[in-house]
């Protein structure tokens, strides 16, 4: 009798569970109270490969996908605070919060976005006071070693792998997750947010109306340094506008990277020789070329920052601004609806391209705070955010905010400017994979040599170049001084670290086997790369 009752009870429980788990077509409302674990359907964009008349065809369609929602009774209401510095995307983040809550009704997203400079000042103070956001956006001084820096600061915690799907890592291209870059002891701390082929500096943006006013064809951009020079002279001679809008101080990097990258490298460190390279004759050649524009008054005058420089170009005060892949979204945020924007590859030296921009593992940007009490929920959000066909990816790309390595960019990007950016990057192969010291020598992640050298004077190269550009001064002496000081500090630190037991040496940062800087570093070469001697005297 007792056994019969138990069996009946078990059957009843199974019946209730089966009924509860049946797919239901219901409208998901934020305010709906879910009393039992159940499945609801949410809208997803799905790509399938189907066979049509013997050919495999890729089809994209919108479907209702069942998603299991735990009962509210089982869930504590949680508020996740997220912060980043993309103010122009604030409305989008509000939508993200609403969409996420449809699937996770117990989690409320509070997304604050500040101006970049303000953000960089505010976030450290929040950490200092123990009031940091649960998820935050950050790029360190050495972008590749941002995770190592943040770990050193005790700012970050790993993602909760218990709530990550098995195929989580498959969302990214192979090799996107590396120990020392975004993984520690097999635990992921971050993920590549923007791709490293398209995303980054190096594009030439033009105001086509200024080109037209100067009698130039706006669709035939200058392709070489000489052509750019001629175009600039024509614009200044035929219009009231200046040619280039160049921000100075640390913002000079926006103009410097594409010019230097086409001649040699956009890095102030020469990864072929393993030394700081601002005194290299190719870097000096790029500087002299740029200085010629300043000396001949082809540049908007003044010690301007990036915001002024961008506005000057958008308002027709200048014809050309060099900037990153994010600029179409930035220009869209300006109230210049008539801006006819051109996006082109940067001009190359007259005898051909002889350098490349650095494509590195530098796009790990979102982290979970070590101070967060909601690591699991934060991981759930990041998992939701990085779904290849999810709301975040599709809308982020559709609105032209940037590129994403975990989604199909060409499928979802709708913004004309961003499509041009993708086209320029892929057609011209602006970026190539540089060798990564951390991959060659794992101890490089613990080394302070680069940091110490760069700490001598922050942003030294850019600030010193800005001063020389504004005042028409010779830069060679200062360049030699900067390179000598940085290299001395770099080598001294390496020596001290090797003596202290790190398997480190200048060999970790010098890749002479990488002969052609316009071509990617072949990862097979890591196997034959010369390592420092085990006693640290290499």
């Amino acid at each position: 009798m007792l056994q019969k009752k138990s069996l009946l009870g078990l059957l009843f429980v199974l019946l209730v569970t089966a009924v509860a788990c049946q797919p239901q077509t219901v409208e998901v409302e934020v305010t709906r109270v879910v009393t039992e674990t159940e499945q609801v359907e949410v809208t997803r964009v799905v790509t399938e490969t189907i066979e049509v008349e013997g050919e495999m065809v890729e089809v994209t369609r919108v479907v209702e996908v069942p998603v299991e929602v735990p009962a509210e009774a089982e869930m504590e209401p949680v508020t996740l605070k997220i912060m980043n510095w993309s103010q122009e995307q604030a409305d989008f983040y509000d939508q993200v919060a609403v969409e996420f809550q449809k699937e996770y009704p117990n989690i409320t997203i509070e997304w604050d976005t500040l101006e970049q400079g303000q953000y960089r000042e505010t976030l450290p103070l929040m950490f200092q006071s123990g009031d940091s956001p649960d998820i935050f956006f950050w790029l360190g001084a050495d972008r590749v070693l941002t995770m190592a820096e943040l770990l050193d600061q005790n700012w970050i915690a790993p993602m909760d792998t218990n709530v990550l799907p098995d195929d989580f890592y498959d969302r990214w291209p192979d090799g996107s997750f590396l120990e020392g870059i975004n993984v520690v002891n097999s635990l992921p701390y971050s993920f590549p947010f923007n791709d490293n082929v398209v995303w980054g500096p190096g594009y030439m943006y033009t105001n086509k109306d200024v080109f037209r006013a100067a009698g130039l064809d706006p669709d035939t951009p200058p392709a070489t340094w000489s052509e750019l020079r001629t175009v600039c002279e024509t614009i200044v001679a035929n219009t009231d506008a200046y040619c280039l809008s160049v921000p100075l101080g640390n913002d000079l990097q926006r103009t410097w990277y594409p010019l230097a990258g086409m001649n040699f490298t956009d890095s102030f460190f020469d990864y072929q020789q393993g030394r700081f390279d601002i005194d290299d004759e190719r870097q000096m050649e790029t500087f002299s070329y740029l200085q010629g524009f300043f000396n001949d008054e082809l540049v908007v005058p003044g010690n301007n920052d990036k915001n002024f420089a961008r506005q000057a170009m958008a308002n027709g005060q200048a014809a050309i601004y060099f900037g990153g892949a994010w600029m179409p979204g930035v220009f869209a945020g300006y109230e210049v609806p008539d801006l006819d924007l051109g996006v082109f590859a940067p001009p190359v030296p007259d005898d051909g391209r002889s350098g490349s921009l650095r494509q590195s593992f530098s796009e790990n940007k979102y982290y979970i705070s070590a101070q967060s009490d909601h690591r699991t929920e934060a991981t759930q959000f990041l998992e939701w955010m990085t779904r290849p066909d999810g709301f975040f990816a599709t809308e982020y790309l559709a609105q032209g905010f940037g590129t994403l390595p975990f989604s199909d960019m060409e499928k979802y990007v709708a913004d004309e400017g961003m499509l041009q950016v993708i086209d320029v990057a892929k057609t011209n192969g602006l970026r190539v994979a540089y060798p990564e010291p951390v991959v060659a020598c794992p101890d490089a992640a613990s080394s302070s040599a680069m940091k110490n050298a760069n700490n001598l004077t922050k942003n030294w190269e850019f600030v010193a170049m800005s001063e020389a550009l504004l005042n028409g001064e010779d830069f060679s002496g200062t360049a030699a001084e900067i390179a000598a000081a940085k290299n001395e500090e770099f080598l001294n630190t390496l020596t001290e670290e090797a003596a202290a037991g790190l398997n480190i040496g200048v060999e970790c940062f010098a890749f002479p086997e990488w002969e052609d800087i316009t071509q990617p570093y072949d990862s097979a070469l890591y196997d034959t790369h010369q390592m420092p001697a085990a006693d640290g005297e290499g």
């Binding site: 450290p124 001084a141 908007v300 010690n303 600030v463």
Partner: protein, 319 residues
Amino acid sequence: MTTISAAQKRNSRRAKKKTAVPYSKQVRGKDYFWVYLFLTPFVVLYLGFTIWPLFATVIYSFFEWDGIKPLEDFVGLENFVTIAKDPLFWLSFRNTLVFALVNTAVKIPLSLLMAILLTRKWLWGKRFFRTVYFAPLVIPVAMAGLIFSLLLHPANGAVNDMLVSAGLVAKPIDFLGDERLALLSLILVSVWQIFGQYMIYWMAALQNVPEDLYEAAELDGANEWAKLIYVTLPVIKPVAVVIVFLAFVNALRVFGLVVTMTGGGPGFQTYVVPYFIYTQALVDFPFRYGYASAAAVLFGATVLLAVMLQGHFVRRSGE
């Protein structure tokens, strides 16, 4: 003669001590309670917001610390040694002193002159001029910096437009980009903003000069210049020392205008110590709070020394 005089003074002081009722006897019983009760909020706030930050800054300067991690990496005097060899710190130091000295040298005589003019009985519209000169002080420093950045801009600035239109210059001047002009531009904007405050100080000092001294000087045939040199300045001299001292110390704290107008540029040419400290501690990642604290301590000690020397010489000149 001297010995007798000193003895007389000592006796006089003893006599005063015997006759005067000490404070401890003036305040009795519950009065102590109320005195300390009313003193407590000030003392607590003073300890918390003045003494403790000063003390903490000295402590931090002996650590390699980013402002966030636990304070555990004691490095002794290493930060001070590094600072002593940091050319950017010494450039900032030099710029700060130049800024403070020139700023003080310009604003003090200018504000005194305006104060003298605005205390003339014959001047019409004194209240209007006082308001006009004082008004810049109520504009936030950041706002003033942004406004002047635009006014002085070589491409769009109104100042350059006027100079070029008037034929005074052939092409626009890059006031904030030229390394010879940037610091001077900052100084002049700072003077424009602050000199109304010192004008008010001077006016208060001038109003304390007894009118009968001027009348006596007039009877002796003194003109306005002679009255200024032989009556006004000697009478206000004690206050003047304090005003100059305040002006110099306040000028050493220049920060907001540098942030909004030049960002330390062109290059590093307008870096001042407060801006140097700010960038080291809070702008350039990874942060160097300990290093910035060492810079603050070193700069503070140097300024304190300068102020003590100044006080010493002022006392000697008084004697």
